[in-house]
């Protein structure tokens, strides 16, 4: 397990001080796969490197397993080589002057107490078999493919049976196809070994597909942590909604005529229509708000009107973008543009008039950080 309390770290670049990690606290349970997700420069890698001991934080406390490895108040700072942590680096950091065997044996040779030669041989082979590299022991490390180097880095990180495993964007150097395979393989492996894992990535797909818990970071802070499903379906703010998946964002104002409808549902007046929306926090009436709705949640309205009168808008198809498994459809509604994702067989013609249904349970009200009401055009998140 890993426990981080009130971690802070500043960088000094010239005369300026940049806060890299700003009061981060988190707890990772034994065997959990925990992901730090965020854009570059958000502090996720710095946090990971603080856990590794490769960076020295300014304040806070870090516990790994049952030991406190860093504490500013108690003046504890265990050097990285005594923390018993396995780490896979972004560049893999495979030592090019050694064979595959020597790379994996390295952590064992520096372990205390040092295992016997026979034990080293056994454990290296065991680690290599975990990552399916048996038979390549004598090969010089530079003669491995990218995927093999990645497996080798994993074997080296695991061979010492570390209490936790740190993964620093380990998949970012692989090509798309291989990355997809390694996602599954990597998660299966660490789950099978029941290793506590801290994973850092800027790829939302990796975070969603692999993690037990995802923590989204922005400007050195954790803005939201939860299961992948929670993060995707219940973003608590604009940043998370925009950063993960694609989202239509429509600025509006929470209506003062609160309906007598079901709890947690509020009407929001937007330039395209008054939309019934789901609210995760009590929305103040008449406050400005942003409605977020995922492209795959928007449907074509049923021609018989059985969707009900509300949350239906009419528009014109502006542009289609064929992606293979789906078609992205950009629809102009008044001054705004909505994007929806349809099965290719459902795709309308460009220029056609179209009627869309925005299911209330999929329309999420988010607080408007700018606080200005109903400025107009909808925006597409990424």
């Amino acid at each position: 397990m890993i426990k981080i309390d009130n971690l802070r770290m500043m960088y000094r670049s010239g005369t300026e001080q940049v806060v890299a990690v700003d009061d981060v606290s988190l707890e990772i349970k034994q065997g959990q796969f925990f992901t730090l997700l965020g854009p570059s420069g958000c502090g996720k890698t710095t946090t990971l490197r603080c856990v590794a001991g490769l960076e020295t934080p300014d304040s806070g406390e870090i516990g790994v397993g049952n030991d406190v490895v860093f504490s500013s108040s108690r003046h504890i700072n265990v050097p990285p080589f005594r923390r018993n942590i396995g780490m896979v680096f972004q560049s893999y950091a495979i030592w090019p002057h050694m064979s595959v065997f020597d790379n994996v044996a390295f952590p064992l040779l520096h372990a205390t107490p040092r295992p016997s030669r026979k034990q080293i041989l056994e454990r290296v082979l065991q680690a290599l078999s975990l990552v399916q590299l048996v038979g390549l022991e004598d090969r010089p490390a530079p003669y491995l493919s990218g995927g093999q180097q990645q497996r080798l880095a994993l074997a080296r990180a695991l061979v010492g049976e570390p209490s936790v495993l740190l993964l620093d964007e380990p998949l970012s150097n692989l090509d798309a196809k291989l990355r997809e395979e390694m996602r599954v393989e990597l998660r299966d492996l660490v789950k099978r070994l029941n290793v506590t894992t801290l994973f850092v990535t800027h790829e939302q797909i990796e975070a969603l597909a692999m993690s037990d818990v995802v923590a989204v970071m922005q400007k050195g802070k954790i803005v939201q942590a939860g299961t992948p499903l929670e993060i995707y379906t219940q973003p608590q703010g604009l940043f998370v909604a925009e950063f993960i998946g694609r989202t239509n964002l429509i600025r509006g104002r929470v209506s003062d005529r609160m309906p007598s409808g079901s709890a947690g549902v509020v009407p929001v007046e937007t330039p395209i229509a008054t939309l019934m929306c789901r609210s995760l926090s009590p929305a103040s009436a008449n406050g400005s708000a942003i409605v977020a709705v995922r492209p795959e949640d928007i449907r074509l309205a049923k021609p018989d009107g059985s969707d009900g009168a509300g949350n239906t808008v009419n528009g014109q198809v502006e542009r289609l973008s064929f992606l293979g498994e789906t078609v992205d459809c950009f629809v102009r509604v008044g001054e705004s543009s909505l994007m929806l994702r349809l099965h290719p067989s459902m795709a309308p013609e460009a220029g056609a008039g179209i009627s869309l249904f925005l299911p209330p349970e999929s329309c999420l009200v988010l607080p408007d950080p700018d606080g200005q009401a109903a400025a107009g055009a909808a925006r597409h998140g990424r």
Binding site: F81, R82, M87, Q90, A93, F106, P107
Partner: protein, 558 residues
């Protein structure tokens, strides 16, 4: 490791500090009290002799720069940007050309163009019944010519690097936009290469300014002094007492000049890097076809190598075989013998060779150990103020070597004295030679270390290895090719080092080049030539090893 770096940085600074300190004093070493004042500076700035020296030095360095650029820059362009074949051969010859000691070629040129004994002069006078010698090498112009020929390989190597790092697509874009070859060269290539060539020029000018070998061999006997030889005269005069204070003041003045030049150099280099392609080049640029100009290109290279290497070495060899120097003729041939080789003071020469051999092992080893420590502290550690160490390691490059020689001399005479009696031992040479090579060493280890991803060391730490163990198991093995190459280069530079040795040498720590120099100074031109030929001959096997290592590293090809 930090301790090593701190001590070395302190020693480097001490050399310069002692010069600054003594430039304000008057008095011999061991005197009871030193008198302070500006008398030395007054003398430097008012004495017509020092003014002459500075003017000579200026003229000498400008001429050598012009000659070096004339033979270096077009050569670099031909090798990097045209379809000229035999690029590897040119690179090899140029690199080896850098290793041939400057005093050897200077001797050769003296035998060719000395007004009285110069072979060409004598022949012209006899053939055309001239009243006087048409050429005189013992002038500022002549010395600059010889020094320029010696420095041309440096300007070649530096500008070749500039041409290589330029983005070839910029030139191609110019051609796609209707510029012909000449206007591309004029409007795109040259402006882009300009800061790099400028930086190389400042660098070469600085080396010319501080050069000792050529002015010593050619100018000394004719009382034409440049800065380095004049300093040597001040601390090592034949008839009066050494003028240490004046030497220190002159050194300080030149240090200021050198600081300005390095500041300019660093600025130019930074500008040049802005134009460089970052990362590897994806494809080879289109090469300019030479067509009918190919023969001209070959002739140009041939002229350079004949003038800079072949002629002087042939003359040196000819002089070494004759009892007294004369024109080649049937009569002269009958005098040819190995007499000089047998009559050499071999016990002195062997002592010099022995000392040089010891230094050739120790200097590169110590230099590179220190350089690795410096680079690691500067590039890998997080010690506050670490970049100051990089600056200090750069100082021996910025400040002319001869000043460090003077600094070491003054340190041993005024400060260390009896406490640490290293004057006249091989250790003082080891220290100063090492300091002089630290700039080169750290540049090499810096670029080696930059190419090694920090994560390779971090992953060793995560695998349980302590800092020193990860250095030994990861860093040093990965640095080995760089270190081997740099070791050989420093060893070869130590082999030919005359400037520093001549200032600090005495009978106990005499080195190989100094033996040649003292023979020359004593008028034994034939013997000096013979020993210089021996020196060149002994260089061949080490140069061959160097060549093999450099070729394996891909440093002799483009």
């Amino acid at each position: 490791m930090l301790a090593v770096v701190l001590v070395v940085a302190f020693v480097i600074m001490a050399h310069l500090a002692v010069i600054l300190w003594l430039s304000f004093t008057d008095g011999a070493p061991g005197a009871d009290a030193l008198r302070y004042g500006f008398a030395n500076y007054t003398e430097v700035f008012t004495d017509s002799r020092t003014i002459d020296v500075l003017l000579n030095t200026l003229g000498f360095s400008v001429v050598s720069l012009v000659v070096a650029l004339f033979f270096g820059v077009p050569a670099a362009w031909l090798v990097e940007r045209t379809d000229f074949r035999g690029k590897t051969a040119i690179f090899t010859l140029m690199t080896i050309g850098l290793l041939i000691p400057g005093f050897a070629t200077a001797m050769g040129w003296l035998f060719l163009l000395h007004p009285r004994i110069g072979l060409l002069n004598v022949w012209l006078i006899q053939t055309f019944q001239l009243s006087g010698a048409p050429f005189n090498i013992a002038t500022v112009l002549g010395m600059g010519w010889v020094q320029g020929l010696n420095l041309a390989p440096l300007s070649f190597i530096m500008t070749a690097a500039v041409f290589r790092s330029m983005d070839p697509t910029l030139e191609e874009a110019a051609q796609m936009n209707r510029a012909n070859l000449f206007s591309t060269l004029r409007r795109v290539t040259m402006p882009l290469a300009w800061p790099g060539i400028m930086a190389a020029s400042i660098y070469i000018f600085t080396i010319g300014f501080a050069a000792f070998d050529v002015p010593a061999i050619i100018g000394w006997g004719n009382r034409i002094f440049t800065f380095s030889t004049f300093l040597y005269l001040l601390v090592n005069p034949q008839d009066v007492l050494p003028r240490y204070g004046v030497a220190a003041a002159l050194s300080t003045v030149v240090m200021v000049l050198a600081a300005l030049l390095s500041w300019w150099y660093v600025r130019m280099q930074r500008q040049s890097r802005r134009f460089a392609v970052v990362g590897g080049r994806a494809y080879r640029p289109k090469l300019v076809p030479l067509g009918g100009w190919l023969a001209t290109a070959w002739a140009y290279f041939a002229v350079y190598f004949i003038l800079s290497k072949l002629v002087p070495i042939l003359l040196l060899g000819w002089a070494s075989l004759l009892p007294f120097f004369q024109l080649p003729s049937a009569r002269a041939l009958s005098f040819v013998s190995l007499g000089h080789y047998f009559s050499l003071p071999w016990d002195l020469a062997l002592r010099g060779i022995g000392n040089t051999a010891i230094l050739m092992i120790l200097v590169p080893t110590v230099t590179l150990l220190i350089s690795v420590a410096f680079s690691w502290i500067v590039l890998r550690s997080k010690i506050p103020g670490r970049s100051a160490f990089d600056f200090i390691a750069f100082l021996p490059h910025a400040v002319p070597n001869v000043i460090f020689g003077i600094g070491a001399l003054l340190l041993t005479l005024y400060v260390l004295q009896q406490a640490l009696p290293i004057y006249g031992t091989i250790w003082i040479l080891l220290i100063v030679f090492t300091i002089a090579r630290i700039s080169y060493g750290t540049r090499m280890t810096n670029s080696g270390l930059i190419q090694i991803h920090p994560e390779l060391e971090e992953s060793a730490q995560m695998s349980g290895a302590r800092t020193l163990s990860s250095m030994r198991r990861i860093l040093l093995p990965l640095l080995t090719p760089t270190l081997l190459y740099a070791w050989l280069w420093v060893a070869l530079m130590t082999y030919r080092e005359l400037t520093l040795a001549v200032i600090l040498t005495s009978s106990g720590n005499i080195t190989f080049p100094v033996v040649i120099w003292s023979l020359w100074l004593g008028g034994g031109l034939g013997q000096a030539s013979a020993l210089a030929m021996v020196m060149l001959f002994l260089m061949v096997p080490i140069t061959a090893v160097y060549w093999m290592v450099a070729r394996r590293q891909g440093l002799l090809t483009n």
